[in-house]
């Protein structure tokens, strides 16, 4: 008896340990198995353009499925489902009556009302699941900037990734007591509603994006280029459009070839650095003007090359531009003149401007994967290097860095931090409003003069094809030879144009660049016309008042083949058109526009001397 009592006491002791000392932690573990939590999925926020147009939305659809083993009267159930969902009776019956499977999907992508109506009849064995999917109303549109999500609608690229925390929201859950098989024992004992994702409104404009998309798309196709891209900023650094070609449909992301997808997702304007060539001359120009080492009265002489530290550096026009005013040198995009400007400013000052313009570091734009400019170390820069930097060689920057700096050059001298997020709102209420951040980097007078010079490029110089009659458009062309392993990669160019459009008190800066165009490659011809097209559309879209346009006289382009450079130059002077010549020979072997085309004085004639 005593032994039995003793053992009972041991058991009682263990009971005390389990029930009292360990009780709390055991109960916590038990609670986990007693309850089943059903996630309440938060709806992902939308992405809207600056005018409130939806660019990325969330779709909720329902999938209806049947567990055939639970179905009692298959023909009746098939009839009910077919009637409620407007499906064919026979095909529903074949699914409902299927054997040997636990679940059969009857219909997908059903609207909520249909499912609710069907479930009201509460047929046994019928279940539905809620599916959330991301959709992009415009498909292949702004694909790099917007980005996409994975199957669980978690952001993977672009803004979907960068602002995932805002967009995603917070899933809630519904806690229900359940038995071991998961059957509910009661109504929800705890209901934590989902916090819906917030909406983000961009600085981007759907219409302007559309203009940019169609421009890069046609440039990409027409020139068989490796890629064509366009970036449009407003005068406070807001990204209005960012387009890339080739691109892909966000609603049908091609995930088969991940390397190709990764390449197409890249925002080249943010992640790539390029030696931009002549478009970079705007920076040199602005620095020289701001430092007071160049003004409109200056003249520059171009003999076709310039000797710096005993090294001969050629102008793109090997025959030379002769004597030219500052404005003419800009219009001619004369390399010799810009070498001179850079040397006048000096290495230390030039680098100070690079820093001021933010070319030495990331811009701080709210996008991931940003690169920053590649510059020679300042103390390693010799006059030869500085001369090259003056016309856009030996310095590589991201297109965004360049466009941002050029915006400062034409907006009165304010350098803004680029941004793509305008505001965040939850349930229509403002949560966050982005405020443009700027610092003065140029004197307003410098900016005014640079504007004037750039207007001259479009009105009278190499940028003519970007011009739209009746609008104030300025800009600069760029044709950069690409380098590979330190040597010129023959036949490979980066053709670009950066321009601005005055739209009332606002301005838009557009940078369009075509990587490795086939055939024609001058920026003035490959890129400028597309910027002109974009600006024409933007001006019409924004209702920018058009100045009176005089009807330009037209003439028929004569045949220039076999002519000398002097003869062609005389022809151009006669018709007031801009001439752009390449090649080293003495006779014209190629011309564009071809003989017989109808041209105006806004035309640019390209010839190849062979």
């Amino acid at each position: 008896m005593l032994a039995i009592a003793f053992f009972f006491c041991i058991v009682a002791g263990k009971l005390f340990y389990v029930q009292i000392i360990d009780g709390r932690s055991l109960q916590a573990k038990a609670l986990d198995q007693w309850t089943r939590d059903v996630p309440l999925v938060a709806t992902r926020g939308g992405i809207y353009d600056r005018n409130g147009l939806l660019l990325a939305g969330t779709d909720t659809a329902y999938t209806l499925y049947v567990r055939p083993v639970e179905v009692q009267d298959a023909p009746h159930l098939a009839r009910v489902i077919a009637d409620a969902l407007y499906l064919e009776y026979d095909s529903v019956l074949s699914k409902v009556a299927r054997t040997g499977v636990s679940e059969v999907t009857v219909a997908k992508k059903l609207p909520k009302e249909q499912v609710l109506a069907l479930m009201q009849a509460a047929p046994k064995g019928v279940y539905f699941s809620r599916d959330i999917s991301r959709y992009y109303p415009y498909g292949n549109f702004m694909s790099q900037l917007l980005g996409f999500t994975d199957a669980d609608t978690k952001g993977q690229t672009g803004l979907e990734l960068y602002y995932d925390d805002y967009l995603r929201g917070l899933n809630g859950y519904q806690l229900t007591e359940a038995d071991i098989r998961g059957n509910s024992l009661s109504d929800a004992i705890r209901y934590v509603p989902a916090v819906e994702g917030m909406d983000i409104v961009l600085t981007a404009d759907k219409s302007i994006q559309f203009f940019a998309e169609s421009a890069v798309d046609s440039a990409y196709r027409k020139y068989g280029a490796k890629s064509a891209s366009c970036l449009v900023l407003d005068d406070t650094g807001g990204i209005v459009a960012m387009a890339e070609a080739p691109s892909f449909d966000l609603n049908n992301v091609p995930r088969d070839d991940l390397d190709a997808l990764f390449a197409m997702c890249k925002m080249s304007a943010v992640s790539n650095v390029y030696e931009m060539g002549s478009t970079f001359k705007i920076i040199t120009m602005a620095a020289a003007v701001n430092e007071g080492v160049a003004d409109l009265d200056d003249t520059f002489y171009c003999a076709g090359s310039k000797e710096v530290d005993g090294q001969r550096i050629k102008c793109w026009k090997t025959k030379g531009h002769g004597s030219q005013t500052f404005a003419e040198a800009v219009q001619n995009s004369c390399n010799c003149a810009f070498m001179e400007l850079a040397l006048r400013v000096g290495t230390a000052k030039m680098y100070e401007y690079f820093r001021l313009f933010g070319l030495t570091q990331k811009t701080g734009v709210d996008l991931s994967g940003e690169a920053s400019g590649l510059l020679l170390p300042e103390d390693a820069v010799k006059p030869v290097d500085l001369a090259r930097i003056g016309f856009g060689q030996a310095i590589a920057v991201t297109p965004l860095e360049l466009a941002r700096a050029v915006t400062a050059c034409v907006n009165g001298g304010l350098l803004y931090t680029p941004r793509v997020l305008e505001r965040v709102q939850a349930d229509g209420k403002l949560v966050y409003q982005s405020v443009p951040q700027a610092k003065q980097v140029l004197k307003p007078s410098t900016s005014a003069l640079v504007r004037q010079l750039l207007l001259g490029v479009v009105n009278n110089g190499s940028g003519r094809l970007a011009g739209v009659a009746g609008y104030e458009i300025g800009g600069k062309t760029g044709t950069a030879q690409k380098y590979k392993n330190g040597a010129i990669d023959r036949g490979k160019y980066l053709s670009s144009f950066i321009g601005f459009l005055s739209a009332g008190s606002r301005q838009y800066v557009a940078l369009l660049y075509v990587d490795e165009p086939q055939g024609l490659y001058y920026g003035s011809q490959v890129a400028a016309p597309y910027v002109g097209e974009i600006f024409a559309n933007v001006a019409a879209y924004l209702d920018v008042p058009q100045a009176n346009v005089e009807e330009l006289p037209t003439f028929v382009m004569p045949d220039c083949l076999g002519k000398t450079y002097g003869e062609v130059q005389a022809l151009c002077r006669k018709h007031g058109i801009y001439l752009e010549a390449g090649g080293e020979g003495s006779r014209v072997v190629y011309q564009f526009p071809v003989a017989g085309s109808e041209c105006t004085s806004k035309c640019v004639l390209f010839v190849d001397m062979g």
Binding site: M1, I4, V11, A12, D22, G23, A30, W34, A178, I180
Partner: protein, 390 residues
């Protein structure tokens, strides 16, 4: 007939042989409190059975009272048998010794006949008898203690040779139980062999010899059924295999841990929603601990202990050696099985399936235990009569 070395003898002899003053010699009768305690335990078991089983019963049989109804019928039979046996002269019980042994062996043999024996959870312990099922081992335990009581009373157990026959019967039962296999009842049977032989006067040194085959048997048994080793390991650390061998014990811990001091309240167990296996039978004590807390669980243990105490008091009060040994044996069956059950439920010993006497679901078990108590009541009645004669 009395042999030296019997613990029962010295106590009983001291009480029955010495002329004591009348007021000291008055023996308290334990029959009535024992009867009340057993009825209380069984009724409480019936109520807890409902709480523990209604959800499973509803799910499996579409009848929340499925288990309760069966148990209520068994309870009625059990009370009738208990009262009936308490009125039966002890010599009739003694005459049942041989038939009961034969029936036990036959039934335990029948378990192995596929048409009659039911295999469940990898063991053949149940016998299908048309309208009801039973575990023959329930009867075997009582058959054994009865036979030992008869034998010890007639021949004594003072030499090693004399303890061999009852030892052989016990060993035969153990072998049959191991073949089922049924480790838990084997353990109880071993315990009964030790307790009854010792009480019957066998010398302590004999048990040292008995220990040898047991020590040898353990590794052999583990080798035959490797699941036993897994169970042993699961008992040491149930969390190592929460979905496997450790599952039962963890679920029992969850139930007990949720109970705390005073429990979650009657009918409010969460573990009975099929999380706890055998909540209506082997693990009903877990549900008691969950719904009534430590206080309730200890109260139930106290009640069982009181039943055991009463049984042993009846044994020691008996001046008849056969009656004393029989009462002692029956009480030991109750004590050992109760102890094993609560020890399993609380994780003091490796998990093994054994019902809690009077409380767990199981008609044959309830009726058998009630029969045992009926014999105890009968012995108590004899004790009282003997006292009056004195």
């Amino acid at each position: 007939m009395w042999k030296e070395g019997s613990i029962l003898k010295s106590k009983s002899a001291a009480i029955s042989n010495a002329p004591l003053p009348q007021y000291l010699a008055v023996r308290r009768r334990f029959g009535i409190p024992l009867f009340v305690a057993v009825i209380a335990l069984s009724l409480f078991g019936l109520v807890m059975l409902y709480s523990a089983s209604y959800y499973t019963a509803e799910y499996k049989y579409d009848d929340a009272f499925y288990y309760v109804k069966k148990q209520a019928v068994a309870f009625a039979i059990a009370v009738a048998v208990m009262i009936g046996l308490s009125r039966v002269p002890l010599k009739w019980v003694r005459k049942c010794q041989i038939p009961l042994l034969v029936v036990s062996f036959v039934l335990m043999g029948l378990v192995f006949i596929p048409a009659l024996g039911v295999e469940s959870y990898g063991a053949r312990r149940w016998l299908h008898m048309g309208f009801f099922s039973m575990q023959p081992s329930e009867i075997a335990k009582f058959a054994f203690v009865l036979s030992v009581a008869c034998y010890a009373d007639r021949y004594g157990l003072d030499t090693f040779r004399k303890i061999l026959p009852p030892l052989g019967i016990g060993a035969a039962f153990c072998v049959l139980l191991l073949l089922e296999p049924n480790m838990s009842v084997t353990m109880i049977m071993l315990g009964l062999v030790l307790l009854t032989l010792y009480a019957g006067g066998a010398k302590g040194k004999y048990f040292a010899l008995l220990a040898v085959p047991i020590v040898v048997a353990v590794p052999v048994l583990v080798a035959i059924e490797p699941y036993r080793l897994q169970r042993l390991l699961a008992f040491v650390d149930p969390w190592a295999s929460p979905k496997g061998e450790g599952y039962q014990l963890i679920q029992s811990y969850y139930a007990l841990g949720s109970g705390g001091w005073f429990g979650v309240g009657f009918l409010h167990s969460r573990q009975k929603y099929m999380f706890l296996p055998f909540a209506e039978s082997d693990f009903i004590f877990s549900v008691i601990g969950e719904e009534w807390g430590l206080v309730g669980a200890v109260a139930v243990m106290a009640l069982i202990l009181f039943v055991v105490y009463s049984g042993y008091r009846i044994a020691s009060a008996s001046s008849n050696r056969f009656a004393a040994l029989l009462a002692y044996g029956i009480t030991s069956v109750i004590a050992l099985q109760s102890l094993l059950n609560v020890a399993v439920v609380t994780g003091c010993v490796p998990p093994t399936g054994v019902p809690l006497p009077f409380v767990s679901f199981g008609g044959s078990s309830l009726v058998c235990f009630a029969s045992g108590v009926g014999v105890l009541l009968s012995i108590d009645r004899i004790n009282a009569a003997a006292h009056i004669i004195h």
